[in-house]
């Protein structure tokens, strides 16, 4: 387990990369130095009426400069607040949090849906194997350039404007993509489809789950998901997504 840090980070760069989607580079003291793909950070609001941190996946790191990148969608008041900041502004963050994706040499299929795409970039950069990346968008696409550099890249858009018309599963089928291991992050219906696909094809599949969080470090038990077996820590069939996850073997959790 890597150490966690709580620090004031400085925004190096912030830009809107698609409608309502922002990319933000943060200069950290320590957090960026030891990140595994699939881990996330808690970003705290400066606005005093918002008490809970926002969990956001690490999209990319620049370890030399101890900087990290997050890509987020404006979903509510907290992310709206973040989107208004400019370089030089500061944000308190905690991280790196969670377990992250296990790295292997197997032929990999990385599946990202919507705002689940960003963590796939750091993963693709760290994986040293044959990589196929499928990204599903509603309409407007983002992070395409970066992803293309790191593997064979397939796109699905709901409106068919780019790539396969439909969702990530449609793109996988249309392109007859095969793999030994799947890494997936995206909306729950997508993850369910991925799990079914993985079972059907007997592929090892790792999924990154989401739940509302308070502490972000496993203390408050807000963010649990049901697990197939009794969890060692909780002593019940519940796993903490922030601490034991967010990445789980698809078969060990219910979602």
């Amino acid at each position: 387990m890597s150490d966690k840090f709580h620090e004031e980070s400085i925004i190096i760069k912030q830009e809107q990369i698609a409608n309502g989607i922002y990319s933000m580079w943060l200069k950290t003291e320590q957090i960026a130095s030891d990140v595994r793909p699939g881990q996330f950070i808690s970003i705290y609001c400066n606005e005093g009426s918002r008490m809970l941190p926002r969990p956001i996946s690490i999209c990319e790191t620049d370890k030399e400069n101890n900087a990290l990148r997050v890509v987020y969608r404006v979903a509510g008041k907290g992310t709206e607040e973040f989107s208004k900041y400019k370089s030089g502004n500061t944000l308190r963050i905690m991280g790196p949090l969670g377990n992250g994706f296990p790295i292997s040499k197997k032929k990999a299929l990385l599946i990202g849906g919507g705002i689940g795409i960003p963590p796939m970039l750091e993963l693709a950069k760290e994986l040293d194997c044959e990589k196929q990346i499928v990204a599903g968008y509603k309409d407007e696409i983002f992070l395409q350039e970066e992803l293309k550099l790191n593997g064979k890249f397939y796109v699905a858009t709901e409106d068919g404007s780019v790539g396969t018309r439909g969702n990530v599963m449609d793109a996988i089928k249309a392109n007859g993509i095969k793999a030994e291991v799947i890494y997936a992050c995206g909306p729950t219906p997508m993850l369910r489809a991925v799990k079914a696909f993985a079972i059907e094809n007997e592929i090892e599949a790792w999924v990154s789950l989401e739940e509302k969080m308070a502490c972000g470090i496993g203390a408050c038990l807000a963010c649990v998901c049901k697990s197939k077996d009794k969890d060692e820590h909780t002593n019940v069939k519940n796993k903490r997504i922030c601490k034991d996850g967010p990445v789980f073997l698809a078969g060990e959790v219910e979602f």
């Binding site: 966690k4 709580h6 502490c215 408050c220 038990l221 820590h233």
Partner: protein, 300 residues
């Protein structure tokens, strides 16, 4: 400068502790907080057997606070004694175990199990609004507060803290009932029952429909209740509800609390407890308060 406070014969290095349920059993936060610096660690509620808690979503943010309906998920007293107590014993802090149950018998079982364990005090949670049985059902009626306090005291070797619910017409009545039942210390407030509706999905924000409101939003209610209880009973009080800063903590102390707990603020700032302790010191320095005792209940 003396920051030591005494609760029912137990001396704390300082008056700042954690609020049950917001700090686990200390392990996770020990990456950020040297637990030896805290007056006490109050653990998440523990029951006689493991509880799985409520469905998710279990929390939702509100203006200046949050609502939670964790539903007292806990690994049960066996695991707690085997794993969490030894961990906490490594630190130079007091250990307060928060106890929950569905029946009086459940509470007593946990209290009895802990009687010979290295635990400094027990906090009896009769005020959790998020469980169907037990919890708040005990805490809203003075007669049952008195009865359960008496029962628990029969099995207790450590001082007993009764944790009161703010969801009552007159908190001095339940406070007096706990005093009559033999409580050693009172702690308040637990959460105020609240609800949030997601207007876009047209459904409740929490799977449990209602949840307990905590955080700075509730502080004025909490300070008022601590003040009222301090006027009504002789027992020492642990004050909580929305403490984020030393200023907040001092408000509770001036209102009559001998110690304070930091809860929701841990989620906003993992070192909130330490910041509160440092801030109290700074305040005492600034106003030349030699002993924190001078502040307890100083506003009347």
């Amino acid at each position: 400068m003396n920051m030591k406070v005494c609760l029912a014969g137990i001396e704390l290095n300082n008056p700042v502790m954690t609020a049950s349920g917001t700090f686990g059993s200390g392990e996770e936060y020990s990456e950020f907080v040297d637990l030896s610096k805290l007056g006490a660690v109050v653990t998440k509620g523990v029951a006689n057997i493991p509880w799985s808690g409520n469905e998710t979503p279990r929390i939702a943010e509100t203006c200046g606070g949050m609502i939670n309906a964790i539903g007292l998920q806990n690994p049960g007293i066996d695991v707690f004694i085997k794993r969490d107590l030894p961990f906490l014993k490594k630190y130079d802090t007091k250990i307060i175990v928060n106890v929950c149950g569905k029946t009086t018998q459940d509470y007593c079982e946990v209290v009895e199990r802990l009687a010979n364990e290295p635990v400094d005090m027990l906090e009896i949670n009769i005020s959790c609004p998020n469980v169907k049985e037990g919890g708040i059902a005990f805490g809203q009626n003075p007669c049952s507060v008195e009865a359960i306090t008496k029962e628990v005291k029969k099995y207790a070797k450590q001082p007993i803290i009764m944790k009161l619910s703010p969801n009552v017409t007159d908190i001095t009545e339940t406070a007096k009932a706990a005093e009559a039942g033999g409580a050693d210390v009172l702690s308040l407030i637990n959460t105020l029952t609240g609800m949030k509706i997601d207007i876009h999905r047209r459904s409740f924000a929490l799977a449990n429909k209602t949840g307990g409101l905590s955080g700075p939003a509730v502080k004025p209610v909490a300070v008022r209740m601590v003040y009222q209880v301090a006027q009504a009973v002789k027992l020492p009080i642990i004050g909580m509800g929305g403490i984020v800063s030393a200023e907040d903590a001092i408000e509770f102390i001036l209102a009559g609390a001998s110690a304070v707990s930091v809860g929701t603020a841990n989620f906003t700032n993992p070192t909130a407890t330490l910041d509160v302790i440092e801030g109290i010191k700074a305040y005492m320095n600034r106003y030349q308060v030699a002993n924190i005792q001078e502040l307890i209940g100083a506003v009347k």
